[in-house]
């Protein structure tokens, strides 16, 4: 059985704006799926449909075989959720809030202490006094404390400092090893590439690509920079993007055949040359 199944999902809002259209993907247990897209692309719409907050116009969203809207109680039974917009009951302390949420999820309090210690979250502070980063930590602890089989996290690392991000990804690794299915949404591919098995890219409400993260990396673009002594060659090879010429200095992104690139460069009166991997996030920007 698939942990998460989304098929041909379509959601249009009251003002006729299309939230998502023809979105199809699935996530297996023990898999981390990165859901990437710019702001307003439809990531949160998909996630809200999965959490039963939105009803689809057509298509299907299932968690553990249960429809997320019509059978939401069973669908959410084993789900830990971190929303992108965080709001708690301000007068409650972190501890009281976590206890309340565990009762709502029908779970015990066993993991609360360990997770709060791990994420350095003070349990005696009121939720209304927490900074954005600490609020994020609270939501992450809340999602993990219920020992979920499915984790859905919408921009979970926003507001976390680098150390906490590192701890967060370590925790994600642990959950993955336990067999938890994880949907991790972000608008920053670099950020989540280290733990994702697959990545889905959404743009203007449509899923434009679903790829293994390895496939993404193998097809990674190169940033080519070279300087010629006298000549002003015409760049004739295929796979060149964003060409910039400044006197004898040439700079472009390349995603074609490496041998063709080598041959081309060898034919020039080169003064210096540099070929480096393009930042993964820059690669991702191609889809934007």
């Amino acid at each position: 059985m698939l942990a998460i199944e989304v098929a041909d999902a379509k959601k249009t809002y009251d003002n006729k704006i299309v939230g998502i259209e023809k979105v199809t993907f699935n996530i297996k247990y023990g898999e981390v799926f990165g859901y990437i897209g710019p702001n307003g692309a439809g990531k949160s719409t998909t996630i809200r449909a999965l959490m039963g907050l939105l009803r689809l116009d057509s298509g299907l969203v299932n968690i553990e075989g249960h429809d997320c809207f019509t059978d939401g109680v069973n669908a959410r039974e084993n789900v830990g959720y971190v929303p992108s917009e965080l709001s708690f009951y301000n007068s409650m302390t972190v501890r009281k809030y976590l206890e309340f949420m565990m009762k709502q999820k029908g779970r015990g309090f066993e993991r609360i202490d360990d997770l709060c210690t791990y994420f350095e979250l003070n349990q005696n502070r009121k939720t209304g006094e927490l900074s954005l980063g600490n609020k994020k930590k609270l939501a992450i602890v809340c999602a993990l404390a219920c020992s979920p089989k499915v984790l859905i996290m919408d921009e979970a690392t926003t507001g976390l400092d680098p150390i906490m991000q590192q701890k967060f990804f370590e925790q994600i690794e642990k959950e993955k090893k336990k067999g938890t299915a994880i949907l991790l949404s972000s608008h920053n591919l670099n950020e989540i590439q280290r733990c994702c098995d697959r990545v889905g890219i959404i743009k203007n409400g449509t899923l434009v690509a679903v790829k293994e993260i390895g496939e993404f990396k193998s097809k990674l673009m190169k940033r080519v920079t070279f300087e010629t002594k006298y000549s002003h060659p015409e760049i004739t090879i295929d796979g060149v993007e964003n060409l910039k010429v400044d006197g004898n200095r040439y700079e472009f992104n390349y995603h074609g055949d490496m041998k063709a690139l080598n041959d081309f460069i060898a034919s020039l009166d080169i003064v210096n040359v540099s070929i480096v991997d393009v930042d993964l996030n820059e690669e991702f920007m191609r889809w934007y």
Binding site: R48, L54, E85, A139
Partner: protein
């Protein structure tokens, strides 16, 4: 979610409602309680002043539908205190139940509350149960305050049956107002206290107008649940118009079912 886990989840949500609104509840009950006490404390003065008004003026006022004869503290309370209880209590309880629904959407807590293993229906019914409990708690507290105050002012003037009847009407009225307000807030997407304040205010003042013209247009009395508060007397506490309660009970139940069905299918965007 079944059995013990379900009870645990609903119980924690039920008690959360009281905890989150304890400050506003304290202030509302405090202010209304003090208002009713002050009104009762005026009874000896009002009684004395009534004695100084000439008989013919009193008769004329009575012909105009204004009764100012208060033979006992109970009669005085039924005439004056009941109005504060019915209107003030209505305002407080309608705002209370509006807040139970509105709060989660205004602050986006709905993203966390409505994504657990309780259904929307379970959450809403638990919140409604807390509002119903508040109706009973509020009225019992007010009854206790009033009885203590009346005992201090004139223990011999207390008739317990009319007072209890009045509080019974108050509980019914407040239950109807709370159900209607709660249902409307289930239906509406925009937040704000406007409707919660307008419902008791409009129905109360409509009741006052309906009572004033009741001899000429009697059917108007059926159109507001406040009618019994204008009709109740110490001598005949049960000789009031119950039809308005029945009409409003039907309206409240229909609205509640509609609100619940719509809320279950609503987008929480």
């Amino acid at each position: 979610m079944q059995g013990e886990r379900f009870r645990r989840a609903t119980n924690s949500l039920y008690s959360l409602e009281f905890k989150l609104q304890r400050k506003s509840t304290f202030w509302w009950i405090g202010v209304l309680g003090v208002l009713m006490i002050l009104e009762l404390l005026l009874y000896p003065l009002v009684d004395m002043l009534m004695g100084t008004i000439p008989e013919d003026i009193l008769e004329e006022m009575e012909q105009m539908g204004m009764s100012f004869e208060f033979p006992s503290v109970t009669a005085y309370f039924l005439m004056q205190g009941a109005q504060v209880l019915a209107l003030g209590g209505g305002l407080f309880l309608c705002c209370y139940c509006a807040n139970t629904i509105m709060r989660d959407f205004r602050g986006k807590q709905s993203e966390l509350l409505y994504t657990n293993a309780l259904s929307r229906q379970d959450i809403v019914l638990t919140k409604f149960a807390s509002a119903v409990t508040m109706v009973v708690v509020f009225n019992v507290l007010m009854l206790a305050i009033e009885l203590v105050c009346m005992c201090i002012i004139d223990i011999n003037g207390i008739s317990i049956v009319p007072i209890l009847a009045m509080f019974l009407y108050s509980i019914i009225l407040h239950l109807l107002l709370v159900t209607i307000t709660f249902s409307i807030y289930l239906l509406k997407k925009k937040s704000g206290y406007g409707i919660a304040i307008a419902i008791p205010l409009l129905l109360y003042f409509f009741g006052a107008i309906a009572y004033a013209v009741s001899l000429d247009v009697p059917f108007l009395m059926y159109l507001t649940p406040y009618t019994p508060f204008y009709e109740i007397t110490a001598e005949a506490p049960f000789d009031v118009n119950f039809y308005s309660f029945i009409i409003y009970a039907v309206v409240a139940i229909a609205l509640f079912v509609w609100g619940l069905l719509k809320f279950k299918k609503r987008d929480f965007a």
